[in-house]
């Protein structure tokens, strides 16, 4: 980051001297460090759980230009952790709500809204104008996309991810440092690792991990201290333990190793084996029915068994009348309860776990199997709105 004394960014106003006074009296920051922050350009991808503390602290710290990438809308299930958004913001675009909060904290910061899903087509254009990328996304395709784009553009990627009570943080794609693919060459196949929506997450967890990411971004800008480059920090909130593991640059890494096979951005949804959420919904696959068909079957009194493969605590929140609860993980040991001689219709929250259950039952020799597309969420949306969504 070159310093140009002729630009206004190279000085602090009287208001800024006051605002940042506790930074200015820190020898590790001082006026010089604060000016580095003022001239820094950071891109935050995601304004959710990780993005909430990130955006608030990066704005408060006086990062001169912050880009926000998000296309989502605030809903009630976000509020227990995404503290950049308030109850009044439900239904608003996250990017607008986040920008309002950040502007309130620090009106000096230039905010750039990128109201899009980051994709292989736009990633270079969005990222190229920033010094640092902070990954606050929630899915594997976007994480691999951000990683590859950062490696190819030579931008540090401050990484954090969370699950239930556990978090991971590090910095990828610095000069000579490891990248995400050095750590994990490939993503898990869909469904093998449960997601937050399925597994839940402690509300304060993304707060801690997002603040670790914010700390590392600020240190990278200041050039101070020892960063997480080359170290994977693991945090366990339940036992309040931090551990760190060594993270090495893999010589065989396809994007940053010795023989690079990835030299441009690829199709990350295909790479991760998941449907592109931006694509129009496909027609129901063979062996799938819509919730409206399920309703008709129930109303007609068709003979079949409806099996709910969610967890008991989900069943307590919402259920489809007449469904028999057998959690996905219990299916292999409860086969005796499941008849082979009748039609079985399986559902879960969104349709993913019931598809897995059908895979297990097929392996066990069952044939008369149907999956309910969209699960109880679709049931609540299209059939019975009194069934709570969660």
């Amino acid at each position: 980051m070159a310093t140009d004394l002729a630009t206004p960014a190279a000085t602090l106003t009287q208001e800024e001297n006051l605002r940042y006074s506790r930074h200015l009296i820190l020898p590790e920051v001082g006026v010089e460090g604060q000016l580095k922050l003022k001239q820094a350009k950071v891109l935050m991808v995601g304004t959710g759980g990780l993005g909430a503390p990130l955006g608030m602290y990066l704005a408060a710290a006086g990062v001169g230009k912050i880009g926000l990438v998000d296309f989502d809308v605030v809903d009630h299930t976000n509020l227990h952790r995404q503290i950049i958004h308030g109850t009044k913001d439900v239904g608003r675009k996250k990017i607008d709500s986040a920008a309002d909060t950040m502007r309130d904290i620090n009106p000096n910061v230039e905010l750039v809204k990128h109201e899009v899903a980051i994709t292989s087509d736009n990633a270079f254009d969005i990222i190229k104008d920033y010094d640092i990328v902070v990954d606050g996304t929630d899915n594997f395709p976007t994480r691999y996309l951000i990683n590859d784009a950062c490696v190819l553009l030579n931008k540090p990627n401050v990484y954090g991810s969370i699950f239930r009570f556990e978090g991971q943080a590090t910095i990828f794609a610095t000069e000579g440092g490891p990248c995400y693919r050095c750590l994990y060459p490939e993503p898990p196949p869909p469904g093998l690792v449960p997601s937050c929506a399925e597994g839940g997450v402690l509300g304060v967890l993304p707060g801690i991990i997002g603040m670790i990411q914010a700390t590392e971004a600020v240190k990278l800008i200041l050039g101070q201290g020892t960063t997480l480059v080359g170290r994977l920090l693991l945090y366990d909130a339940l036992h309040m333990k931090f551990r760190e593991l060594k993270l090495r640059k893999a010589p065989e890494c396809p994007v940053c190793g010795n023989n690079r096979t990835i030299t441009k951005l690829i199709d990350y949804h295909q790479f991760c084996g998941v449907p592109d959420p931006q694509a129009p919904p496909a027609a129901p696959a063979k062996g799938e029915i819509e919730v409206t068909e399920l309703k008709e079957m129930l109303d007609r009194g068709d003979k079949f068994t409806l099996i709910d493969v969610r967890e008991p605590y989900e069943y307590q929140i919402a259920r489809i009348p007449g469904a028999k609860l057998i959690p996905l993980g219990d299916i292999p040991k409860r086969l005796a309860e499941i008849s082979r001689d009748e039609d079985l219709v399986l559902h879960c929250k969104m349709g993913g776990r019931s598809a897995k259950a059908i895979g297990i039952l097929k392996e066990a020799g069952y044939t008369r199997l149907t999956n309910v597309r969209g699960g109880i969420t679709a049931w609540s949306e299209k059939v019975d709105p009194t069934v709570p969504k969660y």
């Binding site: 759980g49 699950f163 991971q168 060459p185 993503p187 399925e198 693991l234 893999a250």
Partner: protein, 94 residues
């Protein structure tokens, strides 16, 4: 007996235990003992060819076994083995 730390996403396959004590002179033997005790874990950790899945890393203390002797890495009784799968904090697959 070495201690294997089980990450949250895999605890459903170890009867909710967050750590398991196993006997074994190498990482391969220790993981073998683990997946014998908890058979459902095998499919999570290994692919059809019996190789560790590429989104699951195994560490002996703080070192990635890929940079030690992989499955043949010797394990002492005081060692801690960590299984660290990738997590995205996401919404896919539900």
């Amino acid at each position: 007996m070495a201690k294997i730390l089980i990450p949250t996403p895999l605890r459903q396959y170890t009867g909710k235990s967050d750590s398991v004590m196993v006997a074994g002179a190498t990482i391969g033997e220790a993981l073998g003992a683990l997946t014998t005790q908890h058979a459902d874990l095998r499919k999570q950790l290994y692919n059809d060819e019996g190789k560790l899945r590429s989104f699951v890393n195994v560490y002996l203390n703080d070192e990635d076994i890929r940079y030690l002797a992989k499955d043949a890495t010797p394990v002492a009784d005081t060692d801690i083995i960590s299984i660290v799968p990738s997590i995205a904090g996401g919404r896919y697959g539900d």
